[in-house]
């Protein structure tokens, strides 16, 4: 029984980070109707950046985090301007836009493979092996740090969405783009901010994940997949739902990996996804209007 509780705790801690980067996927997905297939690759790039900064210059991942957020925000805005805006202007069919992002994901992943090879890198910060013991439960220091960071950042994002003018404009664009435009909101600017914010959150998850995960070029693909399942589970465009969904998926993955194997955990996550599509495509907090999920 004790190892199940241990697995659940580990799942919650990991799930917080799943929730964090899933928020980064659910916002642009909800606002622009475009799922970012390269999401996991941005997490991978951020993990590598934090690894190299630590390995070459001894920069602690938590210090890198302060640079990572604005840096990845800028990357996101750049990609939105260069790729998505152009495709929207050309009135590209949706499959073409999705494939373009898939191409970006393929490029980033093979770029990493090309440069850093099929090798596992471990970011051995001083607190990597540190643990806290609560009764029989052992909590890894980096995991706890990651969870706290994820909660703080998620709360900041929600405060941004609820309290600031730009955040409110973003929500308005999500609810009804045309009405928001009539109210004087420039939806293209909102698209840029939204996509930038999403990539920034992927970048923010990177240093936390790097402190207890191994860093390798193909680490991003599974993260993208997990983020998609989490986003559907927690309702498109809903940051609270994404965070909660992230923890649920984290627990499922951790517990099943503990009692069976990670491959079975993956099959279970896929089963959850298919069942969701079948019976509750609107997710935990959504409603369905005549087949259209929103």
């Amino acid at each position: 029984m004790q190892f199940i509780i241990q697995a659940i705790i580990n799942g919650i801690l990991l799930g917080g980070l799943y929730g964090l980067f899933a928020i980064g996927l659910t916002l642009p997905f909800g606002v622009m109707d475009i799922p970012n297939f390269a999401h996991g690759e941005f997490i991978m790039l951020s993990m590598f950046a934090s690894y190299w900064l630590w390995a070459l210059y001894g920069v602690d991942p938590m210090i890198y985090l302060i640079i990572a957020i604005p840096l990845f925000f800028a990357i996101g805005v750049l990609i939105e301007r260069a790729i998505l805006r152009r495709l929207f202007d050309l009135r590209a069919p949706t499959p073409a836009v999705l494939l373009c992002l898939a191409g970006l994901s393929m490029f980033l992943m093979s770029f990493a493979l090309f440069n850093w090879g099929v090798t596992w890198y471990t970011l051995n910060v001083s607190y990597r092996e540190a643990t806290i013991k609560v009764g029989d439960i052992i909590i890894g220091m980096p995991n706890l740090l990651g969870f706290i960071g994820a909660v703080v950042l998620a709360l900041l994002v929600m405060a941004f969405l609820n309290k600031t003018f730009v955040g409110k404009a973003l929500r308005a664009t999500f609810q009804n783009r045309d009405a928001a435009t009539l109210m004087g909101i420039d939806y293209r600017r909102m698209y840029s901010i939204c996509f930038g914010l999403g990539v920034a959150l992927a970048g923010a998850a990177g240093p936390f994940l790097a402190t207890f995960y191994v860093v390798f070029p193909t680490v991003g693909g599974p993260f993208t997949m997990i983020a998609f399942v989490v986003v559907v589970l927690g309702t498109l465009g809903d940051p609270r739902g994404a965070f909660l969904g992230g923890m649920i998926i984290g627990i499922v993955e951790s517990v099943i990996t503990q009692i069976s194997s990670s491959d079975v955990a993956w099959i279970a996550i896929f089963a959850i996804f298919v069942l969701l599509l079948m019976f509750k495509p609107e997710g935990l907090f959504g409603r369905r209007v005549a087949g259209v999920v929103r």
């Binding site: 191409g103 994901s105 093979s110 099959i267």
Partner: protein, 325 residues
């Protein structure tokens, strides 16, 4: 018999097929035939993908799953029970159908990109299942097939035999794709791809039509999986159902233009050229080829979201207008 219209078109087809069939005896070069085989094979894959994605506008990034089921089923049946892949490929293709239903049935009810997400997830879960069933499938190591050079097992002593197999595969997929395009399924698919609401208001059951198209597409893709296994004599999850491979299938379709008949052939040729170029630039370093594919895919979509074939079609249309004037 009047020359013109349908007869002329049929004549062109027959002439083209005869010309293609004459290539191996005229040019007895294994390397040339190998590239031709690769092109026919990729074009057939793109053509099968096109049935659901090009005509129906439903982007699949998980066709590798159907491909892998075809390749693994026929191979395992052959290696374990001695069943010839000639029969095994149909069993594999039949197994691909419930998989297609598993994603298509729930996802086609929904609007938006759910099918794309589902197909992507399907590809990755098939990958994990193959890895998990290691005692049967040898996991990531892959299965080396026997090489018998016996046509009864779909294997041939030289590339010439495979040439006719892949030519036939390409012709059959193109024929099926043409038949689908010009049947009620094709018309409904185009209508759904253009404006789903309008199509549904006219009584089109969009979910059923998309499912038909997906099933046909998955069936053909699985058969191509078996042909690939018998040709390469080696299968592993990376080459059959990785996300990269699924995107590669989609690339063939989109480079040649969505929903066009000959687009996949153009797409396959471009892919092979890109592959050759990247090998000469980067050597065989892992990631090199897919880096080039990624740039190519983004570049083509950013320049022409409808694919290269769109350029040709515009040119043809311009010529026709000029002639008329």
């Amino acid at each position: 018999m009047r020359l013109g219209g349908a007869n002329l078109r049929r004549g062109t087809w027959i002439a083209a097929i005869i010309a293609l069939a004459l290539i191996p005896p005229l040019f007895r070069r294994e390397d040339l035939l190998h590239w031709m085989n690769l092109m026919f094979f990729l074009a057939a894959l793109g053509s099968a993908w096109n049935i659901i994605c090009g005509y129906g506008g439903q982007l699949s990034l998980g066709h590798g799953a159907f491909f892998a089921v075809g390749a693994y089923t026929s191979t395992l049946l052959w290696m374990w029970y001695g069943i010839t892949p000639l029969l095994g490929m149909f069993i594999g293709a039949a197994l691909a159908l419930p998989m297609a239903l598993m994603i298509g049935y729930p996802a086609f009810r929904l609007r938006g990109t759910y099918f794309t997400l589902g197909s992507l997830a399907l590809g990755s879960v098939v990958y994990r299942i193959i890895v998990y069933l290691k005692p049967i499938t040898q996991g990531n190591v892959g299965i080396p097939l026997w090489f018998t050079a016996d046509p009864f097992y779909l294997q041939f002593p030289s590339e010439i035999g495979y040439y006719y197999v892949f030519l036939a595969a390409l012709l059959i997929t193109t024929y099926v794709s043409l038949r689908v395009k010009n049947s009620w399924i094709g018309y409904y698919l185009f209508a759904i791809g253009n404006d789903q609401d309008a199509a549904e208001s006219l009584g089109v059951d969009s979910r059923k039509i998309k499912l038909y198209a997906l099933l046909i597409s998955a069936f053909l893709t699985a058969i191509l999986g078996t042909l690939y296994a018998q040709w390469k004599c080696y299968i592993d999850p990376d080459a059959t159902c990785s996300t990269d491979f699924s995107i590669q299938i989609a690339m063939i379709g989109i480079i040649g233009g969505l929903g066009t008949l000959f687009g996949p052939v153009v797409g396959a040729a471009v892919m092979i050229a890109a592959q050759a170029l990247s090998v000469s630039f980067f050597g065989a370093v892992r990631g090199g080829v897919y880096m080039v594919y990624g740039i190519l895919l983004m570049g083509i979509i950013l320049i022409r979201p409808t694919g290269i074939m769109g350029v040709f079609e515009n040119a043809l249309a311009a010529v026709r207008v000029l002639r008329r004037e």
